[in-house]
Homo-oligomer: 148 residues x 2
Amino acid sequence: MVDGNVIISALGGAGLRITGARRAVSEAVAAHDGHFTAEDVLVASRRGGHPVGRATVFRSLETMAGLGLIERVDLPSGEHAYVACQPAAHHHHVVCSRCGRSVEVGDIGLDPLLERVQESTGYRIDSHRLELFGLCEECRSGARIASA
Amino acid sequence: MVDGNVIISALGGAGLRITGARRAVSEAVAAHDGHFTAEDVLVASRRGGHPVGRATVFRSLETMAGLGLIERVDLPSGEHAYVACQPAAHHHHVVCSRCGRSVEVGDIGLDPLLERVQESTGYRIDSHRLELFGLCEECRSGARIASA
DNA sequence: TTATATGCAAACGCTTTGCATCACG
DNA sequence: CGTGATGCAAAGCGTTTGCATATAA
């Protein structure tokens, strides 16, 4: 969970205009504790009393992703979602496969492993994508009662 | 690169019918040295003289993915692609970001790291997705000549 | 023979784009 | 003011589905 203002000020810092639509999107993003889709943002903006056009939602999310404020995540289902980030160095997200809530983990020490892969494959590895999925603490305890 | 017959026999082993369309898809998959999209398979089947319907391509790829013969990969661009697998235990793919060629790497020893993430986050991590991107040896040496 | 797989074409859902208008700075 | 941002609606793309037909077993 992130403060919407963090996003807004980051936009400002990047020389972008602070518009009503971007405020609405930022709030929607901040309101989500886990991953969310473009559609989620759209709906949230409507409920928040400041409806934003579908195209603008996509454009805003793209912008924010470019600034590293959010990150695109491909769920195992193939769905496209986003998660909020603390603008930071390298990190990964752990997404709850039940409730979608996500947490960030810092660098988990992947580099030595990648080094080894480079040696064995001859590829120069420039980037990677690691997504972790599982059950968060709450869903794990609730699992007995409400098994979805 | 994989022999198309490996795929065919795996299909047979799973009690599925060996049809012309599936042969064609298997060949197209086997012919690709790297990742490929559904569209690639469709085109390849046409060129191979055994055109397969678009829907059938998707259905076949889905089937093969279910059998672990191929795996779906989401490229950083958001594109959906597939790569052939040796039906095996846990492994990852390294995809060349220039030519798309991919190689498999076995278990790279991620488990201890995941263990640590579990402890720090409280999530029980059930699955993960690690995709590695970079330049393969050939593209790296060719990079000076044809920098794409 | 008979269930399974295929092909077609239409439906679908998500995402992007063109363009006139709006509003932040 | 002037440019960047927005909204709408339509186009675009990849993917899925319904249904009649063909075919492997």
